[in-house]
């Protein structure tokens, strides 16, 4: 069922925003193929008339009152940031200028 290729793993890594070395791609291609072969058996019993379950306890529409409550201060929110500019998170360029 599964034929995972190195190109596929490289694409998945791009989608997941993780740079991978060529060695990591080779290893993951092997691992993923093996894992997917083992877990593909779920489709053996998953018939069309079986409903899907996403959550163990059925809970719907958990709301709270729309009131302001104490939350983190700006200093607290920025305390773990790798970089900041004044009261804001500083991020690298969004657009590539190349």
């Amino acid at each position: 069922m599964s034929e995972i290729t190195a190109e596929q793993v490289a694409h998945l890594a791009y989608l997941a925003r993780i740079d991978l070395s060529p060695l990591e791609i080779t290893d993951l291609t092997h691992d993923l193929g093996q894992i997917v072969d083992s877990i593909a058996k779920v489709s053996e019993v998953a018939t069309a008339d079986t409903p899907a379950t996403s959550h163990p306890m059925p809970l719907t529409n958990v709301f709270r009152e729309d009131v302001v409550v104490p939350s983190l201060t700006v200093e607290q929110a920025l305390s773990g940031a790798p970089d900041r500019a004044g009261d804001k998170f500083r991020v690298p360029a969004i657009l590539d200028e190349e």
């Binding site: 993780i18 779920v42 306890m57 998170f89």
Partner: protein
Amino acid sequence: MTYLTKLSAAALSELLVSKQVSAVEATRAHLDHIAAVDTDLHAFLHVAADAALNTAAAIDARRVAGESLHPLAGVPIAIKDVLATQDMPTTAGSKILEGWVPPYDATVVARLRAAGLIPLGKTNMDEFAMGSSTEHSAYGVTRNPWDRDRIPGGSGGGSAAAVASFQAPLALGSDTGGSIRQPAAVTGSVGVKPTYGGVSRYGAIALASSLDQVGPVSRTVYDAALLHDVIGGHDPLDSTSLTDSWPSMAAAAQAGLKDGALKGVRVGVIKELSGDGFQAGVTQRFTETLALLVAAGAEITEVSAPNFEYAVAAYYLILPAEASSNLARFDSVRFGIRVNPASGSLTSEHVMSATREAGFGAEVKRRIILGTYALSAGYYDAYYGSAQKVRTLIQRDFAAAFSQVDVLVSPSAPTTAFKFGEKLADPMAMYINDVTTIPANLAGVPGMSIPIGLAPEDGLPVGLQIMAPAKADARLYTVGAAIEQLLEARWGHTMLSQAPALTPTEMFASEEGAV
């Protein structure tokens, strides 16, 4: 008088309440023991010695002033590093969060502080709780106190090893597929995964949100119940938190100590969680425990859960899918490390990719890539969609079983503690190890592991898993305490009193802290 570190939380609490022992003395005894043994075992990633002693002194002052305190006030506790603590680093065992000190406490941490427990530090774990051996921690392995060459289980190997080696009477863990119960089993300690939603997850770094649950780690069933009562109950900050009111788990555990507590209790043995693949000594101790239950008046029935066979497969689709989404928050902007790429332009996208390359370990990358695959167009229905259907079938298996019996039992893990490196090269071998514990997470039902003896072939601890219907956590404590009492009466000692003595240096160190 025995050493303070050897006491259960309940026994220590009595000495604290009657002022025979101060919280500072109790805390110092544990810190001394940590200093003596943990360089070798490495259960802790961070020890907050000064803060713990200051907190203890404040508790003593309040107690001396006659303030009414929670019975556990002054009892030390270790906290799994997956839980946010505003005065201690919180890394979830990952380099990507190295040095991060959260600006807030997890609700469970806030609750134990409010009850006056003394946080000793943060315990080691597989990175982002992905693993069954603690070998996937970015900060090195934790050793099993029973055999230093073997794993302490995972992901919560640090919390289990800490209580099993008497570095703390209590610890907090988290259980997504067995991360509390399996470490308990292989270290001879007690661990409970509460009903999904029974304990707040606010401030618990998310792995798989439909599976994760926080719970107690201890050396006795009663101690776990006392801690469960502290951390459990509705939390408006967690939208998946159940609004039910809960009975006292401590009272439920005490009910299990009464004569005849097991009489007429219907116990189901899950056919699919036995036999092939289970170590001989594990099966032997499990069978002996069933005989003990029968002698105590319990009714044993074999029940079948045919879809459990597909649980591991479903789990390793659902978990990576949810994890790949949850871990997207590690984007090098708001917290954690930032690493610039060696070449190319410094755009957000490139910096994020380089940061995640450097910050995540091999298992985390493996599961994120697997989850991304399972959710991708063209594969979603076959994999993730099918896994969600299997989840329904497993819930139906549980419902059918619980229509016949009060609790279900199985060995907590197929084997005793394995050696470091034994399963590292083969991810599926590691994943299959969770076969006994995963079904409870998929269905949201509570589960407990208690020690039931040593496997004759290797002298290592074996655990019994007990499961109850959703929201019937109290039943686990009653049955668990009853079995624990029967076994200890037969052995003439507790399980952990049989653990190998640690080094002479540690004996001396803990004497210094004793009364």
